[in-house]
Amino acid sequence: MTRFTGVSLIVSFAVLAAGCARTDTAQPSMAGNSTTPAGQAPVPSVPPPGSPPPAPAASAAPDGQPGSNAQGAATLQFQTQIKEYLRIHNEAETKVPNLKRTNDPQEIADREALLAKAIQTLRANAKIGDIFAPEYQPYFIKIVQDDFATRPARDRRALIDELPKNMKVDVNTVYPTTIALATFPAALLRKLPDLPPELEYRLVARSLILRDVKANLIVDILRDVVPTIPS
């Protein structure tokens, strides 16, 4: 358990570090305050409801301009939140039996439920936007919407058709095991910031969710990200 947690932490931080490096250099930037210190929330720049997401600053401002730094700060902030979530996840892992390979599916189900319960308790006050914080929501929205916009109509429709519909998603609740996890578009996954193995992105109806893989728990939600299909 301890060894697993240690390895897991190393892997997670390596992945996060790689994510930072990648997103700082390769991702589009957002306009904002370049002087925001790392780890401190930059000035929120949330668009009013219904307004289109802002254009990425990278296309408007060359690297080194204020937009890029604001983007970097936002990404760093996101990854700080991910790190904080991992701390909670790892603490919860210490409170439940180790997950081993087993012939008994009951053991897997019990362990998953216990881990979920432990995380739910540790995050009792969790709310939407704790991790997908408002200051970088436009960034995520833009990535997803740009990705869908570049797909052929048939592909876009197939992706949207596969997403679970009429499913109520809430932060800190278990993802219903009776509902299929829709395939996450591989090309889109490449454009989003990296996550440690404990977490994954998923699309549910029009929302982008963060899901804890081992606990099958919905960690955060970004609503109205997936475009609708014009009728």
Binding site: D104, T177, T183, A186, N216
Partner: protein, 309 residues
């Protein structure tokens, strides 16, 4: 007696007519069947393996319904083993549909395949979109706690992917495994087909763009996928042989669309595959729920398949 003789005589007059009618009926039935069951050819039951020291395995896709069809296919799968003694089974995902309570594992996996499990036939599963990734901890699925993994049987290496979530870690792992593999045969399998004529889903183009270059670069020979609830053998794509076999319990009847991709399609009945790798030759046969061989053929290393059905 006279009456009998007279009847025989009058019957004789109708023999040519009866024969003609019979032939016409058979031809009409065959034509109708061809129309209803595209590209299916009824053939004898499971054929035995050819090689003595070959790698023999079973291919099952989209199994976990727990319904009558799954049990019927499973019974046929066991019958096939009496002729074709496969040593292990690969599962192409959607191993457990719906809820995943312990009783679901029993009804949707352990009971249907009890004979195989009792015979200690190992299963090596891939994760489908209906599967909780924590199935990797379920020992009978042979995943050893991993969402993606590889294993080797004699001169064949299998690369099992989680096509639901192709992140960078998995891509890096796949490239490393393929690069380091010295196996004669490289076989990849996962849930979503890179090429498909399915009307409901179709080809998984996103995934294809990312992993097919690796398959080409490192010489993957054959790819198996499920997701589509039918059987389709694709025409070789960029030198790789693709099979979709996602109808071992679920069936999406009539879902194979007419596309230039299909070499052989079967979507009117559930099916599974039996595969033998014998030196430079891979032999496959696809068996229907009723036990008919609906497709078969050989793939020789670096060649196109020669079909026999």
């Amino acid at each position: 007696m006279v009456g009998v003789r007279m009847m025989s005589h009058s019957l004789k007059r109708f023999v040519p007519v009866i024969l003609m009618l019979a032939v016409a009926t058979v031809v009409a039935a065959a034509v109708t069947e061809q129309r209803q069951i595209p590209q299916m050819s009824a053939a004898p039951n499971t054929r035995p393996p050819v090689g003595k020291d070959s790698v023999k395995f079973l291919v099952l896709g989209d199994t976990g319904t727990g319904d009558t069809a799954q049990f019927q296919v499973a019974a046929q799968v066991w019958k096939s083993r009496q002729v074709f003694p496969y040593e292990f089974a690969i599962m192409l995902g959607d191993n457990i549909y719906g809820s995943e309570r312990p009783q679901d594992f029993a009804q949707k996996f352990e009971r249907p395949y009890k004979a195989l499990l009792d015979a200690n036939i190992p299963f090596y599963a891939a994760i489908g979109n209906h599967d909780d990734p924590n199935q990797r901890y379920y020992k009978p699925f042979g995943m050893n706690g991993n969402r993606f993994y590889s294993y080797q049987k004699k001169d064949t290496q299998f690369f099992v992917l989680d096509s639901n979530y192709m992140d960078k870690d998995q891509q890096a792992w796949l490239e490393k495994e393929l690069r380091e593999s010295n196996a004669k045969w490289k076989i990849a399998y996962f849930h979503h087909p890179l090429y498909s004529s399915g009307g409901a889903h179709g080809s998984e183009i996103d995934l294809r763009m990312i992993i097919e270059p690796l398959f080409i670069k490192y010489g993957v020979n054959v790819v198996f996928a499920g997701h589509e609830h039918f059987y389709e053998r694709l025409k070789p794509q960029k030198g790789i042989h693709y099979f979709t076999s996602g109808g071992a319990a679920k069936l999406r009847s009539g879902d194979i669309m007419k596309t230039p991709l299909t070499a052989k399609g079967f979507d009117t009945e559930q099916s599974y595959m039996l595969v033998e790798i014998d030196g430079d030759v891979l032999r496959f046969q696809t068996i229907s729920r009723r036990g008919n061989v609906v497709d078969s053929g050989e793939i020789t290393l670096a060649s196109r398949p020669e079909t026999k059905s």
